[in-house]
């Protein structure tokens, strides 16, 4: 059976399955879908981009563009599933669902469903946890140290707890599965535990247990040029901005598609739509852009229930230097794209526990120990009731070759903590994700030619007034930064097949009339330009209005 025929939005697809699905979709919907390779990964896998638009209503390059991507981080496979679901939905529902139809008729919808193609494959086929790429980074060789490993062969890397008088953990009084912090005043007989990642020690000398070494430390989302910092300041940064073929492919794709005005990068977890800026507060961002980010953020909250927060608000807390983020910051700061990071899957929220999506990390660190424990109990209850007990492995004795008797247990790091398990919960996430991004896509600017008033003034001379409209919610420039960065240079009107004697409104440059940016929905969503032209009655004048981000529209005017 083909991948297309058996497509299930509640499954995580392996690389080969994804590739087949995309190829089958491109073959099945030739007028709506094109598939291209935009780069090759470190291990040589193709990185795919699909372009979805109805070719009959114009080429993608002449339509406002919208980009989704996923799996900048290897383990955040919910994002990849959401991207594939979106592509599949738009193609299969074209002509049936009015939103899918309007998107493909009026916009170019781009999707790069899997960036960390190597990392996702490792994540789905082994117990390994990794950030982006299986490449060894920052050290090419593995030094002695503690390495995460599936010691008991159950297919997961969980936690090991070891009884120790100086341990910093103890067992909860209500739910014996839950480990809670031993408080400074806990001086009773215990037992107290030390907790380690399930694993073993390279070069074990029988002495102190060293910190965990994570050999795959590259983080694609710290490899973008905006606010890039070297490894010492920003772990995961890579040797220089866009050093990785995967990030460079995505960046090049975005730069070459100047019609992309808005962008969502799918990530997990938390259940929050994150927006720039990541390194400063909202008082230090253009207020029109802030307003746009917030209005679209509200769309997300209505569609998905997930709040929208600035990355700075979500993660910044006293004592932490501002987090420097990745692709969305670069897209916004350098290119003025209205870019978001969408953190899917909110197990905390579903369990009724506190999550950073609601109160930010600065709220989480203020929680009292009693609240933290209450949250832990709620999550275990969620595991029992909603995950059928599969999310948490109870502590099980294991004879560790180096540490002696330990117990292994804890949360499934992949399909409870980082992603929903396959099935209904995953379907719920991917449909939520798409319900927002489809609306976001349709909020992009789109040019239209409105009224045209032509009047003969005698002698083959005509006065012609043209109304150029923006029918989208967002302004043609999308953001003010796009104007500042020269990524948006205004609407250009051209008049062909007639001699222009004079014009009013706009500035003439290189034979085109630039009328500036046009606001989104509201009283300023149109601009007029008028011409005095010479032509003969009955001849046709070709009018074109074009904007990098708002598309190209053409109109023929027959002179009366």
């Amino acid at each position: 059976m083909s991948q297309l025929a058996k497509f299930d939005p509640g499954r995580y697809l392996r690389y080969a399955e994804m590739t087949e699905l995309l190829q089958e979709l491109a073959a099945a919907y030739p007028g709506l879908c094109t598939l291209e390779e935009i780069g090759r990964s470190h291990e040589g896998r193709s990185i795919w981009a699909v372009t979805l638009t109805n070719a009959a209503t114009g080429p993608a390059s002449e339509k406002p563009g919208y980009l989704i991507d996923a799996n900048t981080h290897a383990g955040e496979v919910t994002g990849g599933a959401a991207a594939l679901y979106s592509v599949h939905y738009l193609l299969t529902q074209y002509g049936k669902d009015p939103i899918a139809t309007e998107i493909l008729d009026s916009r170019a919808f781009y999707a790069v469903p899997r960036i960390a193609v190597d990392g996702v494959e490792l994540y789905l086929t082994s117990p390994t946890m990794l950030r982006s790429s299986p490449k060894r980074y920052p050290l090419a060789e593995e030094p002695p140290g503690f390495y995460a490993k599936d010691m008991d062969g159950n297919g997961q890397i969980l936690q090991m707890r070891v009884v120790h008088p100086d341990g910093d953990w103890k067992v909860d009084t209500e739910d014996p599965r839950l480990m809670v912090r031993r408080q400074p005043e806990d001086r009773g007989p215990g037992p107290y535990y030390r907790i380690f990642v399930e694993g073993e020690i390279e070069g074990w000398d029988g002495r102190a247990i060293p910190p965990v070494h994570r050999p795959m430390g590259l983080d694609f989302n710290r490899n973008y040029p905006a606010f890039w910092n070297p490894e010492g300041l920003q772990p995961g940064a890579g040797p220089y901005p866009l050093s990785e073929p995967e990030t460079r492919a995505l960046a090049t794709f975005l730069m070459e598609h100047k019609n992309i005005g808005a962008y969502v990068a799918y990530h997990t977890s938390g259940g929050v739509l994150l927006r720039p800026p990541s390194n400063r507060g909202d008082d230090k961002i253009g207020q029109a852009d802030l307003e746009g980010f917030k209005r679209i953020g509200e769309v997300c909250t209505r569609a998905t229930g997930y709040p929208c927060k600035s990355t700075y608000d979500a993660f910044n807390y006293p004592g932490q230097s501002a987090l420097v983020k990745g692709a969305d910051d670069w897209a916004y700061e350098f290119h003025g794209v209205q870019a978001y990071t969408f953190e899917l899957w909110d197990m905390d929220g579903r369990a009724g526990a506190h999550g950073y999506s609601q109160i930010g990390v600065k709220g989480l660190i203020k929680l009292s120990e009693a609240e933290v424990i209450e949250d832990g109990r709620k999550l275990l209850k969620f595991n029992d009731e909603a995950l059928g007990g599969k999310g948490f492995t109870n502590w099980t004795p294991f004879g560790h070759p180096q540490l002696g008797p330990v117990e292994i247990g804890g949360w499934d790091p992949k399909f409870a903590e980082q992603n929903p398990p396959e099935g209904a919960l995953l379907v719920d996430e991917v449909t939520r994700a798409a319900s927002f991004t489809f609306q976001h896509c349709l909020a992009t600017p789109r040019l239209a030619i409105g009224r045209i008033e032509v009047k003969s003034v005698g002698g083959g001379v005509y006065e012609m007034a043209v109304e150029v409209q923006n029918t989208g919610f967002l302004p043609t420039n999308v953001t003010e930064l796009a104007v500042q960065n020269k990524r948006s240079t205004g609407v250009k009107v051209t008049v062909e097949a007639a001699e222009v004697l004079a014009h009013r409104g706009g500035e003439r440059t290189n034979g085109r009339y630039v009328i500036g940016e046009i606001a989104g929905w509201g009283k300023d969503a149109a601009k007029w330009i008028s011409f005095v032209v010479r032509g003969s009655a009955g001849s046709k004048i070709r009018l074109t209005a074009a904007h990098e981000r708002a598309g190209t529209v053409r109109h023929e005017v027959t002179l009366p």
Binding site: D168, P184, I195, F196, R207, A208, Y317, P318
Partner: protein, 590 residues
């Protein structure tokens, strides 16, 4: 004077944790404790006050398990401020509690066996006596400061001879106060639209003094009443010991009470000199009144500018305090600051010196919060400024109700007429300033003492504690031995206690020394091991905190020595203590 055991027992039989003590009573108790518990308690005087009183301090530790200087130490001090006599009472109670529970209470026993506790119950010894003997308030010292003589103007005095300085209200058409409609005892601010009296002016109970040929003395020309300091403090007695520390010290015109130069007060300097000679002090508590809040650094910057590790440790220990006392632990800057103008932040305090200069994890506990126990919400000071008159009235009503219910109304002296020699008929009344406003009534003193004592025990027990764990001796050739030793920190806090202590060079690295009659090959006999984490280290990182911290380090030596001889391993750190272990060189060749 030395006491006999029976004299000492008699003195201590009279000790009560619900009574404020005079200097002589404290002195007697301290001497009695030192007499009755020679193995647990030593008394010394760190110096003398300007009026010749001793600055007493006791050292509490089980001397059988080692000298105090070889143990991690905790410092408790009270009464930088003379009138905050609750502070002295809590410190004295702590001595009582530790000595009378040693051997029966496991925590107390562990504390005195493994750590040293220094208690300096009363710094402002002269001021406290003055406070007991006079109706006036005094900040730290009865010495005249900043002016050498009295000043003209309204001087707080007990004009009606009831032993207290309250308030005087005088009817006046341009008065700025009126009687609350909700409780006739309560004065509320006159609103701009209030046009029907009576209205009052309110002054501190006192007399106007003027310069006369005979000097400054009560005298009133019937004109404006000036010089009311706006509160019950005698403005002549303006030394503030808690502004006399060198850290960020500013002169008097920038920081009231700071003294002529840092440490110019002998009481303050005596304690500081003791600290400088005792680098084993890693944690400390300074008692004050009143707010019911445990203050932590920083007084000068927000939490975002604190060292993140130190902030995390302060919060963890601060939560212990909240669990035991009910008092929240708050940053001085974030919570306890009225005026954020950088020129107006209080500076030169003990807390700044303890943390920012000595790297000690110190807290300043503001004991006693009677508005709060009356039901008034605790608010950051910056919010207090913005309270409406209606909020203030509601809060005051709660306090009056509590006073009526719990104190049978004794805390508020109702307005009563008095023929003032200078102003004619006035009414005198208001809140009891010393034994309600500044300190709890004695019947509520014990609970204040007990719960805070319990917190300091936990805080002291969270200090680092170095121990030698495993020692592995292996023969690696004829008469050649490899010796490896595990150095453990059994405390919650790291050996350095704070990270700023390391950058300030206020503490040194852990050292491990091998002493042998033989020859040590390769490495030095004494090795520096840096600092050793405590078990609290794992709670500092928010993300990925599921890998427990390493709270031990290993060190090793190779020594050439005859089989059967002994080596001694000595592990030492200022704040982690000093321990040693002897190992015999025998075993199979490896």
């Amino acid at each position: 004077m030395t006491l006999t055991e029976s004299q000492a027992m008699e003195i201590l039989a009279g000790y009560r944790s619900d009574k404020y003590q005079r200097y002589s009573e404290i002195e007697a108790c301290l001497k009695a404790w030192a007499t009755l518990y020679p193995n647990l308690c030593r008394l010394e005087s760190l110096g003398q006050s300007p009026e010749g009183r001793e600055i007493y301090q006791v050292t509490l530790t089980n001397f059988a398990t080692g000298e105090d200087t070889a143990k991690p130490a905790y410092h408790i001090n009270g009464q930088h401020h003379a009138g905050e006599i609750t502070a002295g009472a809590v410190a004295i109670y702590t001595i009582h509690y530790l000595l009378s529970n040693y051997g029966t209470d496991t925590k107390v026993t562990e504390l005195l066996d493994s750590r040293a506790v220094y208690v300096l119950p009363r710094i402002a010894v002269d001021g406290a006596e003055w406070y007991f003997d006079h109706p006036q308030m005094v900040r730290s010292s009865p010495l005249m400061y900043p002016y050498p003589e009295e000043r003209e103007g309204l001087k707080p005095m007990d004009v009606n001879g009831d032993g207290r300085i309250l308030q005087m209200r005088i009817p006046h058409p341009q008065g700025d106060w009126k009687v609350s409609e909700k409780d006739p005892r309560l004065m509320v601010r006159r609103k701009p639209e209030d046009r029907t009296g009576p209205f009052y002016r309110i002054y501190t109970e006192g007399m106007v003094q003027q310069r006369t040929p005979a000097g400054i003395q009560p005298s009133y020309d019937g004109r404006a009443i000036t010089g009311d300091p706006g509160g019950p403090y005698a403005r002549e007695l303006g030394f503030d010991f808690n502004r006399n520390y060198p850290t960020n010290w500013k002169p008097q015109h920038r920081q009231a009470g700071s003294g002529r130069y840092p440490f110019d007060r002998p009481e303050v300097r005596a304690m500081a000199e003791f600290w400088l000679k005792h680098p084993n002090i890693g944690g400390a508590m300074s008692y004050h009144t009143r707010s019911g809040m445990n203050l932590r650094p920083s007084p000068l910057v927000g939490d975002d500018k604190m060292n993140p590790f130190d902030l995390a440790m302060y919060k963890q220990i601060g939560e212990v305090c909240t669990r035991l006392t009910g008092y929240p632990t708050v940053s001085v800057y974030e919570y306890f600051t009225f005026d954020y103008d950088p020129d107006h932040l209080d500076v030169g305090s003990w807390l700044e010196w303890a943390y920012d200069e000595r790297g000690v994890q110190g807290f300043e506990m503001e004991l006693w919060d009677w508005p709060y126990i009356s039901g008034v919400k605790k608010r950051p000071f910056k919010e207090l400024k913005n309270l409406s008159d209606a909020d203030r009235e509601a809060d005051a009503l709660l306090q009056l109700q509590w006073n009526d219910k719990e104190l049978d109304g004794a805390g508020f002296i109702n307005w009563h007429p008095f023929e003032h020699p200078q102003f004619g008929m006035v009414e005198i009344g208001g809140w009891e300033p010393k034994y309600l406003g500044q300190n709890p009534p004695e019947k509520l003193l014990h609970q204040e003492c007990h719960k805070n004592c319990l917190f300091t025990i936990e805080h002291a027990l969270s200090l680092p504690l170095l121990r030698i764990g495993e020692v592995r001796v292996k023969s690696v050739g004829s008469g050649i031995w490899s010796i490896a030793a595990q150095v453990c920190n059994h405390g919650y806090l790291p050996t350095n206690v704070t990270e700023v202590a390391v950058s300030l060079k206020a503490t040194k690295p852990v050292t491990a020394e091998l002493k042998s009659e033989g020859r040590i090959v390769g490495a030095k006999g004494k090795q520096e091991l840096g600092q050793v984490n405590g078990r609290g280290a794992g709670s500092t990182s928010f993300w990925g905190s599921n890998h427990s911290p390493v709270t031990e380090k290993w060190t090793e030596w190779v020594v050439v020595a005859p089989a059967g001889s002994s080596v001694e391993i000595v592990v030492e750190h200022d704040r982690g203590g000093k321990v040693s272990r002897t190992a015999r060189l025998n075993g199979v060749e490896g």
